[in-house]
């Protein structure tokens, strides 16, 4: 039994391709790989990956290192690299990973707004598709989601006045659907920044910039199954990511904003900011499942307690020390040379 555990721990570190290959080593390997550690996803991705997709139990972070080279890291132990994967399509120069859903990544090259690729970094299979709609317009945002009802992935592209949905399995583009945000406010077509959406419980969310009333921008949501859209406004928000319980995190100036889709409620959390502003607020980073991840792979837990989570964030980001002090005896600790945030 013990040897079995150890063996499954070792092969748990292997990339998917080798898991599938090593099933043929022996009966016990086949059993270990098929059952214990690795869940076969029930998703029908056959059209994309042309094979079954396996998802190891380990949570992986995909980091973009440089031109098309991506690196896997284990979320629990990011010090150890789990291997590299190179995006195989050389035509896509300097590709960026826009959205992620299950094992699939939506890729785009900065020089082209028409062609996109869906890539499975685990199996290194990819498929490209072409958007028939842009007519020289650059999309403002994109999203990737999975519709469990029709069991297929959908790609959503947002333009200034409409959005389109691409059905991955059927290789089919839905007709344009108009976006009317409000009579006074339209989406800002001059916005240069791409807004990748984040999928939570079958709904894709974006923070977009708008022309019109300054400093208020729409948070868009599109339901994956019905392809209906909705929006609400918040002040200056930029989407960061989501946390485990389905809440969505934005940053707004010096604050973190937590949005709870169930209650439609924005909650602002003050972050004590030092003179040179807090790392999280100036760098582009995202949250993966309670962890804040940026391109350096820095991560931390976002705990449930709303104010503590922001504080712990700063501590971990700056590699500071966190000390719990009783206020009454704080003065006994003598002269303080470091800055302390409370």
């Amino acid at each position: 039994m013990e040897a079995y555990d150890i063996l499954s721990q070792i092969i748990g570190n292997l990339p998917v391709k080798f898991l599938l290959r090593f099933k043929s080593v022996s009966k016990s390997w086949n059993t270990i790989i098929s059952e214990s550690q690795f869940a076969k996803t029930d998703l029908d991705l056959s059209k994309i990956a042309s094979e079954i997709v396996w998802r190891p139990k380990k949570k992986l972070i995909l980091l973009h290192k440089n031109d098309g080279v991506f690196e896997f890291r284990n979320l629990e132990n990011p010090r150890i690299a789990m291997g590299e994967q190179v995006f195989p399509l050389k035509r896509f120069r300097n590709p960026s990973a826009l959205c992620l859903c299950h094992c699939l990544v939506l890729m785009k090259t900065p020089i082209d707004d028409i062609e996109y690729a869906l890539w499975n970094p685990c199996t290194n299979e990819y498929r490209t598709f072409i958007c028939p709609y842009p007519n020289g317009m650059t999309p403002l945002g994109c999203g990737l989601c999975y519709d469990s009802r029709s069991s297929e992935h959908k790609v959503i592209l947002i333009f200034t006045s409409f959005y389109v949905v691409y059905y991955v399995k059927r290789n089919y583009w839905m007709n344009k659907k108009p976006i009317v945000v409000s009579r006074e406010i339209a989406l800002d077509e001059r916005s240069q920044e791409w807004s990748p959406g984040i999928t939570v419980n079958g709904v894709v969310y974006w923070s977009l910039s708008s022309s019109g009333i300054r400093s208020w921008n729409p948070v868009m949501e599109i339901n994956c199954e019905t392809a209906d859209f909705g929006y609400r406004f918040a002040r200056d928000v930029i989407l960061l990511g989501c946390i485990r319980n389905g809440e969505i995190v934005f940053r707004a100036g010096g604050k973190l904003v937590i949005y709870d889709p169930k209650r439609c409620n924005f909650e602002y959390i003050k972050i004590p900011i030092c003179s040179e502003s807090f790392y999280l607020l100036k760098s582009r980073c995202g949250l993966v499942d309670n962890h804040i991840v940026d391109n350096q792979g820095v991560h931390l837990y976002v705990v449930k307690h709303s104010s503590i989570r922001a504080l712990l964030g700063i501590v971990a980001m700056h590699n500071l020390e966190l000390e719990q002090l009783d206020v009454k005896i704080a003065f006994l600790h003598g002269e303080l040379e470091e800055d302390i945030y409370m």
Binding site: Q9, L14, S24, V25
Partner: protein, 159 residues
């Protein structure tokens, strides 16, 4: 200091700060049953020396990050896993028995890295596994995911 005894009756003295990285020994010390020598009947002295070397190096993991010794530690880790198969498995067994999480992760990753890119035949030979699958079963697995069995990287060597 804590005394550890390998199965070939050699004793080793280790600092408590180092040895408590092992969950098992930490629990023993907390429960007060580590007053004299701790016998480790599953571990031979050669493996134990290796494990102690690791524990001593990793004594202040938290501090290392602060003082910028992380690269140094990483280098040590890379050197550390540079050992033979048999030895690596001995260390994995020991780490599992002593419940040293970080060491276990490190060694399992190293073992996986060595298996990566290997052909099925090479894996069987490396781990001394006899193939007990029938030809049909094997063919079925290959048919499930033929792309996993091809590729320029396949390495048939055994080492």
């Amino acid at each position: 200091m804590v005394k550890l005894k390998s199965n070939d009756d050699k004793e080793f003295e280790v600092e408590e700060a180092a040895v408590i990285q092992s969950e098992m020994i930490k629990n023993m010390i907390e429960d007060g049953c580590a007053t004299s020598v701790i016998p480790l009947p599953n571990i031979d002295s050669k493996t134990l020396i290796k494990v102690i070397e690791y524990l001593n190096k990793h004594i202040n993991m938290g501090k290392a990050a602060e003082t910028g010794e992380e690269d140094d530690l990483k280098e040590f880790d890379e050197q550390f896993v540079n050992m033979g198969w048999e030895e690596l498995f001995d260390v994995i067994m020991a780490a599992n028995y002593l419940n040293i999480h970080e060491l276990m992760e490190l060694c399992c990753q190293s073992a996986a890295d060595r298996l990566k890119n290997k052909s099925v035949r090479a894996v069987r030979e490396m781990l001394k596994i006899t193939n007990d699958l029938t030809e049909e079963e094997e063919q079925e697995i290959i048919n499930d995911a033929p792309w996993a069995f091809e590729g320029p990287e396949i390495d048939d060597t055994v080492n």
